[in-house]
Amino acid sequence: MIPGAFDYHRPSSVEEAVALMGQYGLEARILAGGQSLIPAMRYRLAQPAVLVDINKLPNLAYLSEENGMLRVGALVRDTDVEFHQDIQSRYHLIADVSQVVADPIVRYRGTVVGSLCHNDPSGDWAATAIAARAQMVIRGQGGERTEAIDDFIVDSFTTSIQEGEMAVEARFPVPNTRTSGAYEKIERKVGDYATAAAAVQLELAQDGTIKEIGIGVTAVALKALRVAEGEKLLRGQKPTRDLIRAAAEEAAKIADPNPDARGSKEYKKDMARVLVGRGLVKALGRLGVKI
């Protein structure tokens, strides 16, 4: 199948790109890696009249730590993360997810920020960003704003980006040595959408209690969800098998998946529970805590 026709623009600066997005409004889409957008256009699930190709924009492929945040520019490809040794060794959650997004070829072209902006309810980065408490940096003609990921994710394929804006960066807090995480995903085959997946990141206090925790699930609702009640159960507590089980149950409670070829509603809800439990155990294990 081939995409519908569109007008193609290749701006040379972020300002120019933002101006184009303002000029064409809802008609226009940003083309970064295109690994979600182009298939959607081929299936005519998306039919933008204008594409603004940002691949030639300078200075958007940065991946650096600054002020306690990992800054991921809008042209950072998934493989930039996957092949980055320092990130792989220190960012356990991000390391996990970077190896299971789509398939290995798609990851060479797909971008982290693009995936977050596409906001597919089965995407991997949104649940990761929820668990890691990421922020998005959005540029408009009036300047730049930063938004917490929970506010950024609005609904299926819908973010808080407004007409005339584009996301230029995602920011992930730099983990300390007592922080770990894990991404657990069930897929029918490499490159398939997740049947269900869970992202977990937690920080242990000196006394072994859980100081901070984030739990996100994807593919089990109309958008990626934060398992807030599960986080609440664990925060400030010493992790135990029972607590983990109870927190994982919270994922099943809020999951409201559509049945499809990947599984029934019940199966997917159950997998949300299993995967959150698994992720918590794995993250704790990486910090030397056996459950």
Binding site: I2, A5, Y43, N55, D103, P104, I105, V106, R109
Partner: protein, 161 residues
């Protein structure tokens, strides 16, 4: 619109719509070694290399976006001799119908560039975006291993054996 694509070292001028997919542009340029399998970005048989070592599914990229990025297709792998990966697919019987082979080989080349000594698991992982239905997965792994060995030998070593 008029664009110029550099394919296997040759500049090719072509007139395309913005929505023309790179895979179609390459095949229309007479390079039929790049195959089309799925129409849906899922099989990897249309994989080509961008900028020498970046594998992309040419059905999931617009031709116009490839301007300024040298493209390598399967026809561009061999010099005067077969590329070690091609020789290895031959020696190891790494194919049956062969339709997925160009994509497999180009993905393998990208892997070997990044990781000259991949383990079997790393090979399987790196090629997991390429489908084979016949299916020669076993021998493909062996072929990549052979190619790795050949490419790691210092130049001329083979002739001295």
């Amino acid at each position: 619109m008029q664009i110029t694509l550099n394919i296997n070292g040759q500049d090719k001028k072509m007139d395309v719509e913005p929505r023309t997919l790179l895979a179609h542009a390459i095949r229309d340029a007479g390079l039929t070694g790049t195959h089309i399998g799925c129409d849906s970005s899922s099989c990897g048989v249309c994989t080509v290399l961008l900028d020498g070592n970046i594998p992309v599914k040419s059905c999931t990229m617009f031709a116009v976006s490839a301007e300024g990025h040298p493209i390598t297709t399967v026809e561009g792998l061999a010099g005067s001799n077969l590329h070690p990966i091609q020789q290895a697919f031959h020696d190891q019987h790494g194919l049956q119908c062969g339709y997925c082979t160009p994509g497999m080989m180009l993905s393998s080349v990208a892997l070997l560039e990044r990781n000259p000594n991949p383990s079997e698991d790393e090979i399987r992982f790196a090629l997991s975006g390429n489908l084979c239905r016949c299916t020669g997965y076993q021998n493909i792994v062996k072929a990549v291993q052979q190619a790795a060995q050949a490419m790691n030998q210092p130049a001329g070593a083979a002739a001295d054996d």
